[in-house]
């Protein structure tokens, strides 16, 4: 058993460089002769461009070039793509307008890219960008999700009448209609899943470089998936052939989905580098991040739950309008469809579910995956409905859930997913114990005596992670396979390099992946280095998102380790002059059964490279193996989060006084890192519920929440310390039994908070973000009732 293996709370290997200021993020990189790019962005939400006068900017100090959409077109550079095809109910393919990297005759949201100024310094580029004269004809704009397809709404893309991208559905409508016809009770909610701005702390950045000697490009960029970026830039945008484009994603300061996508800025940098014959660097500032990073969520939903006389759920009907923004971002179409409606069964045995989703264009920034991507929206619908139904049926929320839990596995839901393993009752029981459920009523009365309102809210979430297998996602419209690749290179001295297609931007892969190798090969984790984020080094990769790096990425490493071990056994057998079937491998030692002959793993590695003692026509020298791993199924992490709040009735200020999270992630490699992932996820979910809300002015389409002055990121004093617990059912779909933990908190938290607030206030619903102003207004509106209670 390795001291640094699976299950150990090993401090992170990557930390030393970050705590000493030696991290190397994209903006920390500078190339000789580099120039700086500044983007001219649309000040209008919707406008026709009559012309662009670049002459003044071109003459400004330090300016190297001013490029517009005409230059892009002249070079035959294509637009950005959406890589997931969705078909409408009537069978027609989704209606997507073009997504140019610099505007072609029209702008469609405030912040849309119109032109780029490239200059000797950043300040000169920014100053000259102010001198680019764009002749706009402003057009009426629509920013509101629910009004995008209303009569008279301005047409955003000619290709999409009524601004409708698709009208999609999932489930058996007739069965659901019948369930509602027979229902003894129906619970109805109108829900808005508020639009969020991801706000990874490192703003996006890029450096494009062109080497005329080899006619090849290098792009340094803040990416969660550099190989996918290279593929899209090569195959669709047409920047360079794949073998002539190297994409490097060095240290990346958080992603949360927003750095999955291929954006205009990095595309322009790499294209313009050849145009100007010098490296082109762009570092976004926070204001640009607010305007032009892909946003998240933004659903308007009508949801209904049917129950019978025994308090059992018999059907669910959901109608959602999903805002796509002004263009379809890289994976935008998959988020409100196959990552959303497929999870509407939650943890419950629901015989019939039907969901319709209309995706609409608006004059707002593109919307795509943000931590959880579709699954937080699904959990919010399910858990708000379930909590509300329990209250309407006068059942305790715990009892109502327990009555409807899925208890037998595998379980086929009516919405595609087949859950493979879980024990939802176990996580609920443990959470009730940790939160001291029995003592809640006493705590509530105590709060009341102090003029405070106390409430408790549950969220029993489930998610589908891994986002694979490839055949399954292909049949649902994905343009790519969602496997992962890995390579394990054992050096002659016995230490190991792992090259992975996953990308770490905070998740701690350099540690957890090393722990896996340590566990398998019996060497200390510090003898393992993890290489990622460079298309010239790593064979291929699909990247990190959807909590897939453990279940899929580590499984690929596991598979490569199988091959390494198999070959090392052969080598050991020859060196120790034994039959291969007599070789045993345990705790880093190869031994011959029934003898005292043994070799340490490092000795076998050296023997493999020296190649003196085995026939090289049978066994190749060296010890290096690669693998591509495609999982058998999605994984299904699930758990129970309980939020306890106390509200100051005079001010509406909400304080989270207790947060219990009991999660089932299957096998855990490093509990310390997993706990950290849960903490961060909860914080983002609490942010959605209490503080964060992106606002566009409905008339002008101007972004109102365009800085940290207006968009409230959760601070340390908005959050409590969290009380975590774990249950474990192994995932049968991958060799390590892992399920994934990165998104759980963000998925579970919003419903838990809102269920707690509505419990405390005695109201049916409260919109997110439930700021103290919102809460205070609700208290005022309901004052007689609150006082009477």
């Amino acid at each position: 058993m390795s001291e640094t293996g699976i299950g150990k709370r090993l401090p992170r290997m990557e930390d030393h460089r970050f705590i000493t200021g030696k991290g190397r993020y994209t903006d920390d990189i500078n190339l000789p002769r580099q120039t700086y790019a500044a983007f001219v962005r649309s000040p209008h939400a919707h406008a026709t461009i009559n012309g662009i006068d670049t002459s003044q900017a071109e003459g400004a100090p330090g300016v190297v070039a001013v490029l517009t959409g005409e230059d892009v077109a002249a070079d035959g550079i294509g637009g950005l793509i959406c890589g997931w095809m969705i078909h409408s109910k009537d069978g027609s393919p989704m209606k997507a307008g073009p997504h140019p990297i610099l505007a072609q005759g029209k702008v469609r949201y405030v912040g849309d890219h119109v032109a780029v100024v490239i200059a000797e310094t950043k300040a000169e580029a920014q100053a000259a960008a102010e001198l680019v004269e764009v002749d706009y004809d402003p057009l009426p704009a629509v920013a509101e999700t629910a009004k995008a397809s209303a009569d008279g709404a301005p047409q955003i893309h000619d290709e999409a009448p009524d601004n409708t991208v698709f009208e999609w559905s999932l489930g058996d409508e007739a069965a659901v209609t019948e369930a509602f016809d027979k229902a003894s009770h129906v619970t109805t909610l109108e829900l808005v899943n508020n639009r969020l701005i991801p706000n990874a702390m490192e703003p996006r950045a890029a450096i494009g470089d062109y080497d005329s000697g080899s006619d090849s490009f290098t792009l340094y960029t803040t990416s969660q998936n550099p190989h996918v970026a290279r593929l899209v830039l090569s195959a669709f945008v047409g920047i360079a052939p794949e073998h002539k484009l190297r994409v490097i994603a060095p240290d990346v300061g958080g992603g949360f989905g927003s750095k999955i996508f291929i954006y205009a800025e990095e595309t322009v940098c790499v294209w313009a580098a050849k145009r100007v014959g010098r490296p082109v660097k762009w570092t976004g500032d926070r204001s640009e991040a607010f305007l032009a990073d892909a946003h998240g969520r933004d659903h308007v939903t009508h949801a209904e739950l049917a129950t019978d006389g025994d308090g059992r759920i018999t059907g669910m009907r959901v109608k959602t309008i999903a805002n796509m923004g002004a263009y379809l971002s890289t994976f935008a179409s998959s988020v409100p469809t196959y990552l959303y409606a497929t999870l509407l069964s939650g943890q419950y045995d629901i015989p019939a579910i039907y969901c319709e989703v209309d995706a609409v264009y608006t004059n707002t920034a593109p919307v795509d995956a943000y931590r959880g991507a579709g699954r937080p929206e699904a959990t919010y619908v399910v858990e708000r409905l379930v909590e509300t139904a329990a209250r309407e049926l006068n059942l305790s929320p715990a009892e109502f859930r327990r009555r409807n839990f899925i208890t037998e596995f595998p379980h086929q839901t009516p919405v595609i997913m087949a859950y493979d393993a879980g024990d939802y009752g176990a996580s609920l029981d443990k959470a009730l114990e940790l939160v001291d459920y029995d003592g809640f009523e006493q705590r509530r009365q105590e709060s009341e005596r102090n003029g405070k309102l106390r409430g408790l809210g549950f969220s029993n979430y489930i998610e589908a992670c891994g986002i694979a297998p490839s055949q399954a996602v292909g049949s649902l419209g994905a343009g790519v396979g969602l496997w992962e690749s890995a390579e394990v290179r054992v050096n002659p001295t016995g230490n190991v390099e792992v090259l992975t297609g996953s990308h770490s931007h905070g998740q701690g892969h350099e540690t957890t992946f090393a722990q896996l190798v340590s566990d398998r090969l019996g060497i200390p984790a510090d003898q393992v280095s993890v290489v990622h984020g460079d298309t010239d080094k790593v064979q291929f990769g699909m990247g990190t998102y959807g909590s897939r790096s453990g279940a899929v990425g580590m499984s690929a490493i596991f598979k490569a380790l199988d091959k390494v071990e198999a070959k090392a056994r052969k080598v050991a057998a020859h060196v120790m002059e034994a039959s291969e079937s007599d070789i045993e491998f345990k705790d880093g030692q190869f031994s011959v059964k029934g003898t005292d002959k043994k070799m340490a793993f490092g000795e076998v590695a050296l023997a493999a490279y020296v190649a003196h003692k085995f026939p090289t026509d049978e066994i190749e020298p060296g010890l290096k193996e690669g693998a591509f791993y495609d999982p058998k199924n999605f994984t299904f992490p699930a758990g129970c989060h309980i939020c306890e709040v106390e509200i100051d009735a005079d001010t509406g200020v909400t304080r989270i006084v207790n947060w219990v999270a009991v999660d089932d992630f299957g096998t855990i490699i490093n509990p310390m890192i997993v706990e950290g992932q849960v903490h961060g996820g909860i914080a983002q979910g609490v942010g959605q519920a209490l503080t964060e809300g992106c606002r566009y002015d409905a008339e002008s389409g101007q972004l109102v929440t365009g800085s940290y002055m207006d968009y409230c990121m959760p601070r340390a004093d908005d959050l409590p310390s969290f009380n975590l617990g774990f249950t474990e059912t192994a995932c049968p779909s991958n060799p390590l039994g892992m399920k994934g933990c990165g998104e759980a908190g963000a998925i579970a938290a919003p419903a838990a908070v809102i269920n707690a607030l509505t419990d405390a206030l005695g109201v049916k619903d409260i919109p997110m973000p439930a700021t103290s102003e919102v809460v205070w207004r609700i208290i005022q509106e309901n004052k007689p009732r609150v006082a009477a209670e």
Partner: protein, 156 residues
């Protein structure tokens, strides 16, 4: 261009800078000390915090010229002779960082916070309130708070 001189991490430095040059630009672009980060443009995220004459300061909102003659310490100057500062150790031990981008500013703020509260109380509520000017998107602050509590004991 005016000349500015200061001591950065114990080393005398001097350079000609534009009047508008920010301290963070001077550190990153002129001195190559890229451990100090820029995470926002409204002086709120705190990724750029350094110490100027022993006080935590947001270097994105300080002109380089304002630091004429000052003693500046950045994250690169916190460890002494290869030995990590107790605050750096505590952040690693308690998993107080994930992506690492806010970390230099967090550590600089935290060291200043502990120094100012020496002899007084630095409980969880105070730490959380003191972190008002530093945003972390990864950790939910839970382990940052633990790290600061732990380092405060060692620095006492």
């Amino acid at each position: 261009m005016p000349t500015v001189s200061m001591t950065v991490n114990g080393r005398e430095v001097s350079a000609d800078v534009e009047g508008r040059t920010l301290l963070v630009e001077f550190l990153r672009d002129e001195l190559g000390l890229t451990g100090t980060h820029v995470g926002c443009d409204t002086s709120q995220c705190g990724a750029c915090v350094v110490h100027v004459d022993g006080r935590a300061v947001k270097s994105c909102t300080t002109l380089a010229l304002q630091c004429e003659g000052a003693d500046v310490t950045t994250i690169e100057g916190v460890a002494t002779n290869g030995a990590l500062h107790p605050m750096q150790e505590a952040f690693r031990e308690h998993h107080g960082l994930q992506c690492g981008f806010c970390t230099p500013g967090m550590i600089m703020t935290a060291i200043d916070m502990v120094e100012r509260h020496k002899g007084g109380t630095l409980d969880e509520a105070t730490i959380r309130e003191e972190l008002e000017g530093n945003i972390c998107r990864c950790t939910g602050y839970h382990n940052i708070v633990k790290a600061i509590q732990s380092a405060a004991e060692k620095m006492a």
